[in-house]
């Protein structure tokens, strides 16, 4: 790429009066802005860039080459952000038979789509060990809110509406307390032990103190440090005894897939991020999906519409008794939460998740969790000489280091992450979880080959070596990227988000 010419901003390429189009002389100018009320008319021309078409095309094509995603190279953010999206998912979701559907068309005209929808509900219920799922929530956080609304509805149905507190471990994802607050519930923090797991004694104290006010406890397992909560059965039992329900945040479900199920651990309600565990895109790649599952006895509170399977028996005079098996849309019962969004949720995303489940099959889906865990532990054991491992022992799908072992060089986790960019890797999650000052979290997922992981380990070791021999090189990284180290303090304090404004500053 010629960066001098095309690495500029589109505004810098602009030449006054340059156009990428021409209108015919006799172009009908009957309708002009003069017809608009004066208050709606621009007082000065919009300051848009003026370029010829070829310059625009080259500019954006070159920019697109600066993207880095899981299709370009190793991406240690793992399922936490988005794991690899198999191509077949896109093909299935793009089929006209699915893409052309309308949510209001009669159920009898889209039985195939409803069957897929129903089967995905059933598959997720089986994988989670729960009774029923709704696919309506449009993202993980939307799922959290929906799940908490189900919990509230449950307590209200038992005339126990005084339960307004939600217990959340201090290691939890920030969405947990945010969702609880949006649902009108009060957050109570449960402390962690030094190894990052829930302090069960503190939980006991809290339950003794306020048990009758506890609506639920929200947990991620394995937790945000990638550690499986060893006392999870005791925790769910304690909360149940106090009358509360257990909510499972499915963010880290990838580690358990096929190995163990939230329902079997005693969880009552959960959400699944399809874009994390079931290989669908999100963020810039497409909308998300956060299905919510519940144990038996809570399904009547799930939002509508619901897709249900029915068997109808009818008698045709000449053919005799006939059985019709099909799928219907249930638009609601009195106990249901009602609608929580756009009809059925993001159906395209569900098709991709269902394609993924069927591609793997019940035999291979069991390998997802174990392989993701193996890969993370391989990295952990390979790098613990160079990077400080605050929590020893087995991790699950992700491993957290607390920066470099050698702290005398002054090289921070931020510097290591920036230096990784020079070697063609995406940076890992840094400074989260907050339990350590120099957190550096790596999640390879089950998809990476041993060769890819070995190459990454070699680079991480090389950076640790550079931190000793040439710390300035690491502290000033990146050097091989289109732009170098950005001033994140200035960006946070004085964000300038429009080009023309930046000229005026």
């Amino acid at each position: 790429m010629n960066r001098t010419l095309y690495g500029n901003l589109i505004f810098e390429l602009s030449k006054k009066g340059r156009k990428g189009y021409s209108l015919p002389q006799d172009y009908d100018r009957t309708h002009t802005t003069a017809e608009l009320p004066a208050a709606l008319r621009r007082k000065e021309a919009a300051r848009l860039p003026e370029c010829d078409e070829l310059t625009v095309v080259r500019h954006y094509t070159n920019l697109s080459h600066n993207n880095f995603g899981v299709n370009d190279g190793f991406y240690p953010l793992g399922s936490c952000t988005m794991k690899y999206n198999p191509v077949i998912n896109e093909e299935i979701a793009g089929m006209k038979a699915f893409a052309g559907l309308h949510p209001l068309q009669p159920a009898v005209t889209c039985q195939g789509a409803l069957e897929v929808y129903y089967n995905l509900q059933e598959s997720l219920a089986e994988l989670a060990g729960l009774k029923e799922f709704t696919l309506n929530p449009c993202a993980g956080a939307h799922g959290e809110l929906t799940g908490l609304m189900v919990i509230r509805a449950y307590h209200e149905s038992r005339k126990d509406a005084a339960r307004t507190k939600v217990l959340i471990p201090d290691s939890a994802h920030g969405t947990n307390p945010a969702s609880a607050a949006v649902c009108g519930l009060e957050v109570v923090e449960v402390k962690s032990l030094a190894d990052g797991t829930v302090d069960v004694e503190h939980l006991r104290e809290l339950l003794n103190e306020m048990g009758s006010e506890v609506a639920a406890m929200m947990m991620t397992n394995p937790n945000t440090l990638g550690i499986f909560e060893p006392r999870v059965l005791e925790i769910t039992e304690l909360v149940h005894k106090a009358g509360g329900l257990m909510y499972y945040d499915g963010a880290n479900l990838n580690a358990l897939l096929g190995e163990c199920r939230p329902g079997d651990m005693g969880f009552d309600v959960m959400h699944i991020n399809l874009h994390k565990t079931f290989s669908t895109p999100h963020g810039g790649g497409g909308p998300g999906s956060g299905p919510v599952g519940v144990r038996e006895g809570l399904e009547q509170f799930l939002p509508t519409p619901r897709v249900k399977k029915v068997v109808v028996n009818y008698d045709i005079p000449e053919d005799g008794p006939t059985e019709w098996e099909g799928f219907i849309v249930d638009w609601g019962t009195d106990s249901s939460l009602g609608s929580i969004g756009n009809f059925f949720g993001n159906f395209g995303v569900m098709l991709k998740a269902y394609a993924y489940i069927l591609s793997l099959g019940s035999e291979n889906i069991k390998k997802v969790g174990p392989l993701a865990t193996l890969n993370a532990n391989y990295i952990k054991e390979s790098l613990k000489g160079e990077y400080l491992l605050p929590i020893k022992g087995l991790c699950k799908h992700e491993v957290v280091f607390d920066g470099l072992v050698d702290k005398t060089t002054g090289v921070t986790t931020m510097d290591v992450a920036k230096r990784l960019l020079d070697y063609g890797y995406h940076a890992p999650t840094i400074y989260f979880p907050l339990l350590f000052h120099e957190s550096l979290m790596i999640e390879p997922t089950e998809n990476e080959s041993k060769e890819t992981i070995d190459a990454f380990i070699a680079v991480m070791r090389k950076i640790a070596e550079e931190a000793k021999t040439d710390p300035e090189l690491v502290k000033t990284a990146p050097h091989n990227t289109p732009i170098g180290r950005v001033d994140d303090v200035l960006a946070a304090k004085q964000p300038v988000t429009t080009y023309w404004k930046s000229l005026e500053v």
Partner: protein
């Protein structure tokens, strides 16, 4: 290396309080500003707001993380350090000179629950 100041009382969540008569100046320790890195925003309460020992009264946002500020004592806010609104980096320059809020203590006995500098040094080593 983090600096520690004598004569202050410290909390486990790394706030300090400098007591002068019935008033206390509350800020974050030098150790805390080191751990947070470049501070870009300080969320402060307003004058006359009530603060409670052990409860949040604001937040410090750095390029690394946002951390709640936990009040070491209970009382009424009588002054906030307005300089931090435009120049939050003062906390990085000198965390002890740049207190965040001044509080009129409602229960001075709460000070006994806080650490002295030696105990706080030990706490930071853990």
């Amino acid at each position: 290396m983090a600096k520690f100041e004598e004569g202050l009382r410290y909390s486990e969540s790394h706030e300090y309080i400098r007591v002068e008569g019935e008033y206390g100046y509350i800020g974050i320790s030098d150790y805390a500003q080191h751990a947070l890195g470049n501070v870009v925003y300080v969320d402060m309460p307003e004058v006359d707001d009530e603060v409670t020992a052990g409860e949040e009264f604001g937040a410090v946002e750095s390029v690394k993380a946002a951390s709640d500020l936990i009040s070491p004592v209970s009382g009424t806010v009588v002054e906030v350090n307005e300089a931090l609104e435009d120049t939050p980096e003062l906390l990085n320059e000198d965390a002890f000179a740049n207190w965040i809020i001044k509080v009129q203590l409602s229960d001075p006995s709460e000070l006994d629950n806080l650490m002295d500098v030696e105990a706080y040094k030990e706490h930071c080593k853990e």
